[in-house]
């Protein structure tokens, strides 16, 4: 079932949670709503589910206005951030809940309910825990029970609110892959909310980057990561170094030095203004000798060789802290030491210029 949001706005008191949002989600898509806390992504998800009523705008399911359709008739599955399992029911009863509350004339027989519940528990690989209570499960198991419970009512749309937010890193990765496979299998239109850019990039067909109740960019992982619409998106999707400077007649100045840059992805900008140069840590190269105007001097502050890459922290000539990631091989050739004076060369950067 496709979902369409038209001019959706929602205020809580004076706080604008969702600000005039338009969004179309195709049948079978897996879409991520990505943003910081308070960006309105959970509110938007709850509006789709019908748990929150928008102040203006409408939600369309399959092209039909769902404004007057109650939550229980919307056929949406909602997985809550803290699972919201019924704590006084066993895992079996939790999953069976949606089948037991069906009006009596349409309710499946007890044997049919049992069959469906065990089938779903097998799907989430938890059949052996059917008699446990939620408090006896680990976080990852609870999350999977919540998912099985939601799938029991055969929803047309699956909505997940920070599905892996409360889990530790290892379990999160596992569940993420598992959810991806599940979605490939059952092809249900799904929307999930996350503040974790890695999760969004790995899982979603399309990512909706949200900030302060508005959509900053909609696109595939590739698009939002490599072709960010604006500084916010670039900054949000991964670590980044910010260099504050200015632009004069097309020439970029950082501190007092004019820098000539290759591979600059600059957006349409005025020729003169305040400029912010964004460079990802792995796109900065450390060299020992200056190379014309493409390099600028910096001093090594600390070196952290733990992890797949060596993280080097430096101070640029004009005082900004700079993070650089280099390979272990490169680190060995350079013989870096704390206090060493080196030069930095951006391999690729984004330039965002603001009118003064």
């Amino acid at each position: 079932m496709s979902i369409e949001l038209r001019n959706i706005s929602k205020k809580f008191g004076d706080f604008v949670a969702v600000d005039n949002i338009n969004l179309h989600i195709e049948t079978g898509e897996l879409v991520a709503l990505l943003g910081l806390s308070g960006s309105g992504k959970t509110t938007l998800l709850r509006i789709i589910a019908g748990l929150e009523t928008p102040d203006t705008g409408e939600v369309l399911f399959h092209g039909e206005d769902a404004s007057d359709v109650s939550v229980r008739e919307r056929k949406v599955g909602f997985v809550f951030q803290h699972y919201a399992l019924f704590r006084h029911m066993t895992v079996f009863e939790n999953v069976a809940f949606g089948l037991r509350v069906v009006p009596r004339n349409a309710r499946p027989a007890e044997a049919e309910i049992a069959r469906r519940v065990h089938e779903l528990l097998k799907l989430v690989q938890l059949d052996f825990l059917a008699d446990r209570f939620p408090s006896q499960l680990s976080g990852g198991q609870r999350q999977r029970v919540a998912l099985a419970r939601t799938l029991a009512v055969e929803p047309k749309v699956l909505l997940l609110d920070e599905p892996f937010g409360a889990l530790d890193a290892k379990v999160r990765q596992e569940l993420r892959r598992w959810l991806r496979r599940l979605h490939d299998e059952i092809k249900i239109t799904s929307v999930f909310v996350t503040h974790d850019q890695e999760e969004a990039l790995e899982l979603a067909n399309r990512i909706v980057v949200m900030n302060q109740g508005r959509i900053e960019q909609i696109g595939s992982a590739e698009e939002v990561y490599h072709h960010p619409a604006n500084a916010f998106v670039y900054n949000f999707l991964g670590n980044v170094n910010l260099f504050h400077g200015r632009i004069e007649n097309g020439r970029v100045f950082l501190g007092d030095t004019a820098v000539e840059l290759e591979n600059t992805h600059a957006h349409a900008h005025p020729e003169t203004g305040k400029a912010v140069l964004y460079v990802r840590p792995h796109l900065l190269e450390i060299v020992l000798r200056p190379n014309g105007k493409q390099t600028f001097p910096a001093t090594v502050k600390s070196i952290n060789p733990a992890g797949p890459q060596v993280k080097v922290e430096l101070v640029a000539e004009w005082g900004d802290m700079v993070q650089v990631e280099i390979s272990h091989e490169r680190n060995q050739t350079l013989h870096l030491e704390t206090g060493a004076n080196v030069f930095l060369k951006p391999k690729e950067q984004k330039l965002f210029v603001y009118q003064i």
Binding site: F86, S138, Q141
Partner: protein, 294 residues
């Protein structure tokens, strides 16, 4: 456990010296004996002073039976009403934000802050024969004050906050997510209430009922004002005890008192049991412990 730590047990840094502990425990015990244990024993000793026969005679006396019946009836009306109101009020307060919420919370507490005697006076002023409303009712043959309805009304008033006060924090701790989950899964309002909301607060609710019952049966002040002390008609057990006592029928007075004391002890036992059931629910909410079961 190594042998060294057993050989010289060290006082943990947070413990007080032993004489402080002994002194504190002794003070508590002396206090408890003076004000609780000895009086309770005294009640039963006095009640059985003239033998077991006199004890039962005092209890099966028609006036005593009337008092017991009235007390049970009052509790049977007050407790369900209190529970209904308590669930409704706590649900509204825990789930919704609305203007006047704080005022409502304060209003619920009024019966606690007002002296029961004043509560009784209030009903007499409002519904007594000389008040317009009471006069109108009396003309239509309905007596409230100095009759059973007045006693029930006064009891409802003084027990008003009990269930609500107990349920509000539990409802707030449990949160609304499970209810939302039930609705999204297709449950109707009543299905949600009976399958999710109620089971989550049931121990707290039972605890509130026990407290409410104890207060309803034991209330003296407010009931005394509206009762009129008509023997065999408008005397509840506490009022009847007072009358017997003033008549110098000490053994009978203590016999009826012993029934109320037994009720108090039963309440305490129920309270102890229920509190143990209520607390884990609250804790689980605050700290979702992740136990790896597989």
């Amino acid at each position: 456990m190594n042998s060294k730590s057993q050989a010289e047990p060290k006082r943990p840094g947070t413990a007080d010296p032993s004489w402080v502990r002994i002194a504190l425990i002794a003070t508590a015990l002396v206090f408890l004996s003076l004000f609780l244990f000895i009086p309770v024993i005294a009640v039963f000793a006095e009640a059985l002073q003239k033998g077991i026969g006199a004890y039962f005679a005092a209890i099966v006396d028609p006036e005593a039976r009337a008092a017991i019946r009235l007390t049970l009836m009052t509790a049977a009306i007050a407790v369900p009403l209190n529970v209904t109101f308590g669930i409704a009020a706590s649900w509204v307060i825990a789930r919704f934000d609305f203007p006047g919420k704080q005022t409502l919370l304060t209003l619920i507490d009024i019966p606690f802050s007002v002296s029961p005697v004043i509560a009784g006076m209030l009903f007499v002023l409002l519904l007594g024969v000389r008040a317009p409303l009471g006069g109108w009712l009396a003309n239509h043959g309905i007596r409230i004050i100095f009759a059973e309805p007045g006693i029930v009304l006064a009891t409802i008033f003084v027990t008003f906050p009990l269930a609500a006060r107990e349920l509000i924090p539990i409802m707030q701790a449990v949160g609304s997510e499970e209810e939302e989950a039930a609705i999204v899964l297709g449950a109707g309002g009543w299905q949600m209430f009976f399958r999710v909301t109620l089971p989550n607060v049931k121990w707290g609710l039972l605890y509130g009922m026990v407290l409410c019952n104890a207060r309803a049966m034991g209330e003296f002040g407010a009931v005394s004002v509206v009762s009129g002390h008509i023997r065999g008609h408008t005397n509840t057990m506490p009022l009847y005890v007072e009358i017997l006592y003033n008549d110098y029928q000490f053994a009978a007075a203590f016999a009826v008192s012993s029934l109320l004391t037994l009720l108090a002890i039963a309440t305490l036992v129920a309270k102890y049991y229920l509190e143990r059931r209520v607390v884990p629910v609250k804790q689980e909410q605050e700290e979702p412990v992740v136990k790896v079961a597989a």
